[in-house]
Amino acid sequence: MQKSIARWLITVVCGAAYAHAQALPTAESILDRFVEATGGKAAYQQHTSEVMTGTIAFPTPGLTGRLTRYASAPDKEYSVVELGPIGKIESGASGGVVWERSALLGPRLKSGDEKAQAGREAQFRAPVEWRRLFPKAETLSVETVNGEKCYKVALTPASGKPETRFYSRKSGLLLKAVATAVSPMGEIAVEVEVSDYKQFGGVLYPTRSRQQTGGQEMVITITDVRINEAIPPQHFELPPEIQALISKAAAK
């Protein structure tokens, strides 16, 4: 009798595990579904540039500012954050160079994992090109994010730190990401929740993100995304100070 019960238990447990494994879709299907849920590959392909504007806030210290991001296919980016008393913080990626310039630290070139991370973020059609950006993707489990069941997907890039994303089981939209931000200050865990998807040029963009880093909260609100607007080429040109750093590095 006891053997029968044990066999039954084993059958039930294994059956449940099998059913659970069956319930988890592949990471590939989840990531492709996200592309479809946000407008479809064709809609993404019609975009060649975008100018994103919004606000940025750090509620705890009480800092607020504005941000503008210019991006162009396939991988050019220039962002400006004007953050009240901290001043202007510019960053860019162009021609394989990833850089930053601020009143606080001056100009600098990004390298290593920091460069890889910023370079991935500069990819204009990153959602469509996830296979190239993340050679390994795996569905881990189902977890709840703000009351919504999500597929938890681990993404491993060719270089740089892996990240975990949470896609809504119901809508297919990305709701949360957990990653490790790398900078000369060190590695810091970053948790970002995104919401308020709105359509711009036939593609859904999350217009609100709430990021937790080292106990500090940062809230970004996108107010407008202008699609295929002509962007002056000088926005993507390397600033003279950055060119000087490249020349200096080359001379060494």
Binding site: F58, T60, P61, G62, L63, G84, P85, I86, G87, A103, L104, L105, G106, P107, R108, P184, M185, G186, I188, A189, T213, G214, G215, E241, A244, L245, K248
Partner: protein, 414 residues
């Protein structure tokens, strides 16, 4: 690091505590205990604060606080509990102390002179309203000798707080008069009625930090550049002025950065400023460890970084970011530090008030310099210790600056 500034400023600008009625004392004592114990449990950078079993500490001390007959007894028990941490910047300040530290006058006006406490005496060390070296005896009826003696008796009051408390005695609304009695160079009493002048610098805020008047001065002393500023705040203007001052001194025989009296501000400004004196990448000033993150104070070398002799001046009122900057560059072998030991307040710590009216200071991060030393409580010990004396001040000399200039001259000769 902005939290450090808020902390240091708030620590000397709090209001006197309200008296507690005896029947409420026990409840207030217990509420204060819970506040202190919970705050350290949740905010300390180490999950086991000070390597202790914090639950066991709570179980040991909570019944004792419940049994405390008076507020004073409860305070001593809390101090004993904090003492178990064997870490500084965890302190309980008796409510009555705040009455001595309080800035009762309000207003931004200043009397046109700076003071420091030297050997228990409040001496004029800067400004032009009265001669250097005069001793301040009395301000508006308050005997400063007695006040300083009383404050110096409390081990929880360090030099930084003492001097901020004194500065508050002199300040007030612009245009208001202050009747001040000095002892002149011959120790004869001299009474002056000084009209408070508008504060130096420009008002600059940083988020929730109350706006501060921030100034930066730079000049040439012979062939040596001299830069002095009072806060690591007003980031855009100060960083630009600082960079311009260094660039203007590209061919100077040396540069002196005077951080005496600079109580800190935005920590990241130390990184940005250090970049003007370091040309090798991959360097850092130190590391700050919080509960959930560890941050390097990295240095981004500037294209026009200055490579000549660098002297940094500090004193007991140099705190926070000023200590990180001075200690970090010294540890890298990039600067020589002159003056007296800095405040040892390099951790982001927070001052708050407890339900029983006492003050409570607690640190939320640990800062370790590049040499592996914690600056907390220890401060930056100068390479060359030089103390101000009344004699040199009366002679119109700044002994600390003179020592730094002499060292720079010596470097040039070598």
């Amino acid at each position: 690091m902005a939290a450090v500034s808020v902390t240091l400023l708030c620590g000397v600008l709090v209001l006197p505590a309200a008296a507690q009625a005896p029947p409420e004392q026990k409840q207030a004592n217990l509420a204060s205990f819970e506040f202190v114990w919970t705050t350290i449990r949740d905010q300390h950078w180490d999950k086991n604060p000070g390597g202790l079993d914090w639950q066991a500490i709570g179980a040991e001390f909570r019944p004792r606080v419940e049994q405390a007959a008076t507020g004073e007894a409860a305070r001593e028990i809390l101090r004993e509990m904090l003492g178990r941490l064997k870490q500084t910047h965890f302190a309980i300040f008796p409510a009555p102390v705040y009455q001595d530290l309080a800035a009762a006058t309000g207003g931004d006006g200043w009397p046109g002179f700076e003071v420091r406490v030297v050997d228990g005496r409040v001496l004029v060390t800067g400004g032009s309203a009265v001669p250097l070296g005069w001793q301040v005896l009395n301000v508006e009826g308050t005997d400063l000798r007695a006040l300083v003696a009383a404050l110096q008796k409390d081990p929880a009051i360090h030099e930084l707080q003492l001097e901020r408390a004194l500065a508050a005695r002199f300040s007030g609304p612009v245009g208001a008069a202050r009747r001040i009695t000095f002892a002149d160079g011959s120790d004869q009493p001299q009474t002056r009625e000084l009209k408070l002048e508008p504060p130096r610098g420009e008002l600059a805020g940083f988020g929730n930090l109350p706006p501060q008047h921030v100034w930066l001065e730079s000049k040439k002393l012979g062939e040596t550049g001299y830069i002095r500023f009072n806060f690591f705040l007003d980031l855009v203007r100060v960083m630009q002025s600082f960079g311009e001052a260094v660039e203007a001194c590209a061919h100077c025989g040396g540069i002196v950065i005077d951080l005496r009296g600079n109580v800190g501000g935005i920590g990241a400004m130390a990184m940005g400023m250090a970049g003007w004196f370091v040309d090798k990448p991959g360097q850092r000033l130190g590391t700050m460890t919080m509960r959930n993150a560890t941050l390097n104070f990295f240095i981004n070398p500037r294209a026009g970084a200055y490579n000549g002799p660098l002297a940094i001046l500090v004193d007991g009122s140099s705190a926070s970011t000023a200590e990180i900057f001075a200690g970090g560059l010294r540890d890298l072998g990039r600067a020589r530090v002159f003056g007296t030991r800095s405040a040892g307040a390099a951790l982001p710590s927070i001052f708050t008030r407890l339900p029983n009216g006492d003050g409570f200071q607690y640190a939320v991060a640990n800062y370790v310099s590049v040499s592996g030393e914690t600056l907390e409580a220890k401060g930056v010990t100068p390479d060359v210790e030089v103390k101000l004396t009344r004699e040199t001040l009366l002679a119109g000399q700044d002994a600390v600056l003179d020592a730094a200039l002499a060292w720079i001259r010596g470097q040039r000769i070598q």
